[in-house]
C-alpha cells in the first residue's frame, strides 16, 4: 500500500517500473538494533548528556578539581540535559528530515508506518501509533506521580516527619505536582486527540506527522529528566517553581526547569498541530456545526497551548539564565523581582488549569449522547462555553497572587474575572443536564465516569468560586482547602473523564475488551475513595492545615489518618485498573466489536483495528454527529464519496 506523498516529489508508485536499487541493509538479526530507534536514542542521549556536562564544566570552571561538583555547576547540568535531549532526538531519527531539507532533499511524509511492534518504540508518523505511545507513556508517568502521592500520604499519617526528611518531603511533593501537572497537559490530547481527531474529521493523518511524534518523545525525555532530580538533591518549590526559592535551590532545580521547558515545547507543538489539522484537513461536509464536541474541546485547548506555553518556556529560560550565568530577572539583589516570575508563571499557569479541564468537558459531552441515546443538548452553547473559558482564562491569573502584595486596586478586577469564568463553565453543566434529561441512560463504565465527573467537578468549581473571593482567599491561601479545590477540578474533572475515555475508546484502539466486573470495581472504589480523600481536605484547610509542610498540629491527626487511608484505597483502585489492563489486554484477550457502544461517531464506523490510512475514500459528512433517536433518512445519505469531492 502506498500513501500520499508531498506534491512535486516522485513517489515509489510512480517509479514502480524501474529496477529496484541494490540495498545495503544490515543483516536481519541486527536490523532491529542498528539504526534510528529507542536504543540508539538512549545511547546518544547519555553520550550527549556527558558531552554537555563536560563542556559546561569547561565553561564555568575549567579545573579538574571542580568537575565532580555537578551540584554546584548549573551550566554543566543544564548543558548536559540540553545535549542529552538533542542526542536522544538524533538517535530517534528526528534530525534526518531537517538535514535532508537543509541539503535540498525533500523527504516523503511516511516513516515506519507499516512495520510491526518496533514502530511503537521510535519515530512513527501514523497518528494512531503516536496515540498508543502517548497512552502508555503517560500511564507510566502517572504511576510515578501516583506513587509519590502515596509517599506523601504515608508521611502525613504522623504529625512529625517520620519517613521523609523535610527536604525529601518537599521534593516528593514537587515531583508529584510537576509530574501530574506537566505530563497530564497532554493526558487527553496526546492519546485520544492524536488517535481520534483525524478520524473524526475524516482525515488520513495529522497535518504535521513528524511534529506529532516529536511532541511525544519530548514529553518522555522531560519525564525522565524530572525523575533524575533525585540524583541532584531534588527541588523545594513544588510544581510552581517559585522564586526566590528557585534561584537558591540546589542543582535538582535544573531538572524541574528542563522538564517544564520540554513540556511547554511539546505542548505548544501539539496545540499547533491540532489546530492546523482541524482547520485544514476536515473532510467535505464536516462543517463547523457538525464538528464533534470532542474536537471542539481539543481546538479550545490547543489555542491555550499555543499561546500560553511560550510564556512558560520564556519564563523558565529566564530562570535558567539566572541560575547559570547570574542574570537578575528574578533576583532582587541584582535589580530583578521574584514577583516577575510569579506573574509570568501564572500567566501560563492558569490557562494550564483549563488546558487540563477542557478536554475533560469534551470527553464527557462526547460520551453522554451515546449512553443516553439522544442528541447533545445545547451543542452551540457548549461550544461557546468552551471558547469562553479559553478566552477568559488569560484574564484571571492574578488571583493566585492575592496575598502576594499586589496592588489592592487590582484585586476586585481579578476577583470578578475569576467569578465570571464560572459562567461559561456553567454552560457545560447546563448542556450535561439538558442531555441527561429524559434520556434512556445505560450505566456502562464510561457513563459512570461521566456522572462522577459531574459530581466532582461541581464541588471543584463551586469551591473555586468561593476561593475567588479576596477575603476568603486571604484566609485560605496556602492551605489544604486550596489543595482540595484543585484536586477536585483536576483529578475529579480530568482524571475521571480520562478513565471514562479509556474504557470508551481503548477497546477501539486495541480491539480488545476490558473485564467489566473489574472495571466497575475500579470505578466504585476510585469514586468513593477519591471523595473520602479530598472532601475532608476542605475541613483540614479551614482548620489551618498548611500545604507543603509535613509537620502539623496534633489535633489534625485523626482527619489526616482518614485521608491517608482513603488515599491508599484510591491507590489500590488504580492497581485494580492495572490488573484489569494486564488481564484483559495480555491474558484474556476477548475481542471487542467494531462498534461496541452503537455510537454514531465516525471512528466506530471503521473496522477494528483501524487501518493505517483510515479511509479508502475520504468520507462526505451529511448529518450531525449526535442525532440519536432521530428516525433514519431514506437510504442514500451519508455515502462515502471520492477524495476532494
Amino acid at each position: 500500500m502506498s500513501t500520499a506523498e508531498e506534491p512535486g516529489i516522485i513517489t515509489n508508485a510512480s517509479r514502480a517500473a524501474s529496477p529496484a536499487p541494490v540495498s545495503r541493509r544490515p543483516a536481519p538479526r541486527l536490523k532491529g538494533v542498528v539504526g534510528f530507534n529507542l536504543l540508539s536514542a538512549v545511547i546518544l542521549g547519555v553520550a550527549g548528556y556527558y558531552a554537555g556536562w563536560f563542556i559546561g564544566h569547561q565553561i564555568k570552571a575549567p579545573t579538574f578539581l571542580y568537575e565532580g561538583a555537578t551540584d554546584e555547576n548549573d551550566v554543566a547540568l543544564l548543558l548536559g540535559y540540553a545535549f542529552g535531549v538533542i542526542g536522544f532526538l538524533i538517535g530517534m531519527g528526528f534530525a534526518n528530515y531537517p538535514v535532508s531539507r537543509l541539503l535540498g532533499r525533500p523527504a516523503s511524509l511516511r516513516e515506519k508506518e507499516e512495520h510491526g511492534i518496533s514502530r511503537y518504540f521510535g519515530l512513527c508518523t501514523d497518528h494512531k501509533v503516536v496515540g498508543m505511545q502517548y497512552l502508555i507513556g503517560i500511564g507510566l508517568f502517572l504511576f510515578v506521580g501516583g506513587a509519590n502521592a502515596m509517599l506523601i500520604r504515608a508521611e502525613l499519617l504522623h504529625d512529625t516527619p517520620t519517613i521523609l526528611g523535610p527536604s525529601q518531603y518537599l521534593t516528593t511533593v514537587g515531583i508529584h505536582g510537576s509530574m501530574m501537572m506537566g505530563i497530564m497537559t497532554s493526558g487527553v490530547l496526546g492519546p485520544f486527540a492524536n488517535y481520534f481527531v483525524p478520524i473524526m474529521i475524516g482525515a488520513r493523518r495529522m497535518a504535521f506527522p513528524r511534529i506529532e511524534s516529536l511532541t511525544f518523545w519530548l514529553l518522555m525525555a522531560g519525564g525522565f529528566i524530572l525523575v533524575s532530580t533525585i540524583f541532584f538533591g531534588g527541588f523545594p518549590t513544588g510544581w510552581t517553581g517559585y522564586e526566590p526559592l528557585n534561584d537558591q535551590a540546589v542543582a535538582g532545580m535544573d531538572s524541574y526547569i528542563c522538564f517544564f521547558a520540554l513540556v511547554g515545547l511539546s505542548m505548544m507543538l501539539l496545540g499547533l498541530n491540532m489546530i492546523a489539522t482541524i482547520l485544514t484537513m476536515r473532510a467535505p461536509g464536516m462543517t463547523w456545526s457538525r464538528l464533534p464536541i470532542f474536537v471542539w474541546s481539543v481546538l479550545a485547548t490547543a489555542v491555550l497551548m499555543v499561546l500560553a506555553a511560550p510564556t512558560l518556556i520564556a519564563t523558565l529560560l529566564m530562570a535558567a539564565l539566572d541560575r547559570s550565568i547570574d542574570t537578575s530577572f528574578f533576583i532582587a539583589g541584582g535589580g530583578g523581582s521574584s514577583f516577575l516570575f510569579e506573574n509570568l508563571f501564572w500567566f501560563f499557569g492558569h490557562p494550564e488549569v483549563y488546558i487540563l479541564a477542557l478536554p475533560g468537558f469534551g470527553i464527557v459531552l462526547e460520551l453522554l449522547p451515546v449512553f443516553v441515546r439522544k442528541p447533545l443538548w445545547g451543542y452551540r452553547l457548549a461550544i461557546s462555553g468552551m471558547l469562553g473559558v479559553s478566552l477568559l482564562s488569560f484574564f484571571v491569573w492574578q488571583h493566585h497572587l492575592f496575598v502576594s502584595g499586589i496592588n489592592a486596586d487590582l484585586r476586585p478586577f481579578y476577583m470578578l474575572s475569576t467569578e465570571i469564568i464560572s459562567i461559561p463553565t456553567g454552560f457545560i453543566f447546563l448542556c450535561f443536564m439538558g442531555t441527561l434529561w429524559k434520556g434512556r441512560m445505560s450505566l456502562t463504565v464510561p457513563m459512570l465516569f461521566c456522572l462522577a465527573w459531574a459530581f466532582n467537578f461541581l464541588i471543584g468549581g463551586a469551591s473555586g468560586v468561593v476561593l475567588s473571593d479576596v477575603a476568603t482567599d486571604t484566609q485560605l491561601h496556602g492551605s489544604f482547602f486550596v489543595m482540595a479545590h484543585f484536586h477536585y477540578t483536576i483529578m475529579g474533572g480530568l482524571v475521571f473523564s480520562f478513565f471514562g475515555a479509556i474504557y470508551y475508546w481503548v477497546p477501539k484502539m486495541t480491539g480488545l475488551r476490558f473485564n467489566e466486573r473489574l472495571a466497575k470495581w475500579h470505578f466504585w472504589l476510585m469514586f468513593l475513595s477519591f471523595n473520602s480523600t479530598f472532601l475532608p481536605l476542605f475541613a483540614l484547610g479551614i482548620m489551618g492545615m498548611p500545604r507543603r509542610v509535613s509537620s502539623y498540629e496534633p489535633n489534625l491527626v485523626p482527619l489526616n489518618t482518614l485521608v491517608s487511608i482513603s488515599a491508599f484505597v484510591l491507590g489500590f483502585s488504580m492497581l485494580i485498573f492495572l490488573v484489569n489492563t494486564v488481564y484483559s489486554m495480555i491474558f484474556a484477550r476477548v475481542g471487542a466489536e467494531a462498534n461496541p457502544w452503537r455510537s454514531k461517531s465516525t471512528e466506530f464506523q471503521l473496522p477494528t483495528p483501524v487501518p493505517v490510512y483510515n479511509f479508502e475514500q475520504i468520507p462526505v459528512f451529511d448529518s450531525d454527529p449526535y442525532d440519536y433517536g432521530i428516525p433514519l433518512l431514506p437510504a442514500g445519505g451519508g455515502q462515502a464519496a471520492t477524495a476532494g469531492a
Binding site: G8, I10, R105, A207, M318, G335, L340, Q605, A640
Partner: protein, 221 residues
C-alpha cells in the same frame, strides 16, 4: 443500552481501506493550507514568547529595584544595533519580494531568496560582534539581563528562520542542478516550494516586525 430496533447502522457509512489498495494523493492544497495556518500560529506563539520579555522589561524598569535597573555604563551600541535591525528589515523585504515572484510563477525568485538568507545571517553576525564589543555583561543589573536574554533568544529565532528559508533555496538549487530520476527527487520544485516559502516569508516578515520593536525598546527607550 439502545434497543435493537434503533437506527442501524448508525453514523456515516464508510468504506475501510482494503489490503493492497493504492491510496490516491492528497488534494494539492491540503499541505499548503496547513503550512499557512501553522505559520500564523507560530507568529502567535512567538508573540507570547517575546511578550514575556516585554513584560519583564517594563515591569523591572518601573520597579527599579534599589536603582539597579540600569547601571551608568550599560548602553548598547546603537549603531551596531541599527545595522542588525536594518539587515533584518532588508532581509524580510527581499524575502517578501521572493515570495511574490514565486507566486507570480517567475523563476527569478531565487536571487532575492538567497540575498534574504545572506542578509539574515549578516544580522546574526552583527549582533554577535556587538556582544563582543559591548562593555557590559548579563550580570550588570536588570536591564542588562533583559537585553542579553531578549536579544539572545531573538537571535536564535532569526537563525531558525534563516534555516527555514534556506531549505527552499536549497531545494530549488538542487532541482535546477540535477533533474529528478529516483524516488524522493523533486520533479516539480515550484509545487513543493511555493507553500513552504509563502509560510516562511510570512513568518519572517512578522519576526522582522518584532525585531524593530526589539530595537526600539532595548536601544532607544
Amino acid at each position: 443500552m439502545a434497543s435493537a430496533s434503533e437506527e442501524v447502522p448508525p453514523g456515516p457509512r464508510l468504506t475501510p481501506v482494503g489490503r493492497g489498495v493504492e491510496i490516491p494523493p492528497e488534494p494539492p492544497g491540503a499541505g499548503a493550507r496547513a503550512l499557512s495556518v501553522a505559520s500564523r500560529l507560530l507568529c502567535g506563539a512567538t508573540t507570547f514568547f517575546f511578550l514575556a520579555f516585554v513584560f519583564a522589561y517594563f515591569y523591572l524598569r518601573s520597579l527599579d529595584q534599589d536603582r539597579m535597573w540600569r547601571g551608568a555604563h550599560v548602553h548598547p551600541d546603537q549603531a551596531l544595533g541599527g545595522v542588525f535591525v536594518a539587515c533584518i528589515v532588508l532581509s524580510a523585504a527581499l524575502a517578501i519580494v521572493a515570495g511574490r515572484l514565486m507566486k507570480s510563477g517567475s523563476g527569478s525568485w531565487l536571487a532575492p531568496g538567497i540575498a534574504s538568507v545572506v542578509l539574515g545571517l549578516a544580522a546574526v553576525a552583527a549582533q554577535c560582534i556587538e556582544y563582543t564589543l559591548q562593555d557590559f555583561g548579563p550580570t550588570r543589573g536588570a536591564y542588562a539581563s533583559v537585553f542579553c536574554g531578549w536579544s539572545g533568544f531573538y537571535l536564535i529565532a532569526v537563525l531558525a528562520t534563516m534555516y527555514w528559508l534556506e531549505t527552499h533555496v536549497a531545494t530549488e538549487l538542487r532541482a535546477r542542478r540535477a533533474p529528478a530520476s529516483s524516488a524522493g527527487d523533486v520533479h516539480e520544485p515550484d509545487r513543493l516550494i511555493a507553500p513552504g516559502l509563502d509560510a516562511a516569508v510570512f513568518y519572517w516578515g512578522f519576526l522582522a516586525a518584532i525585531g524593530v520593536l526589539t530595537y526600539v525598546t532595548l536601544y532607544l527607550l
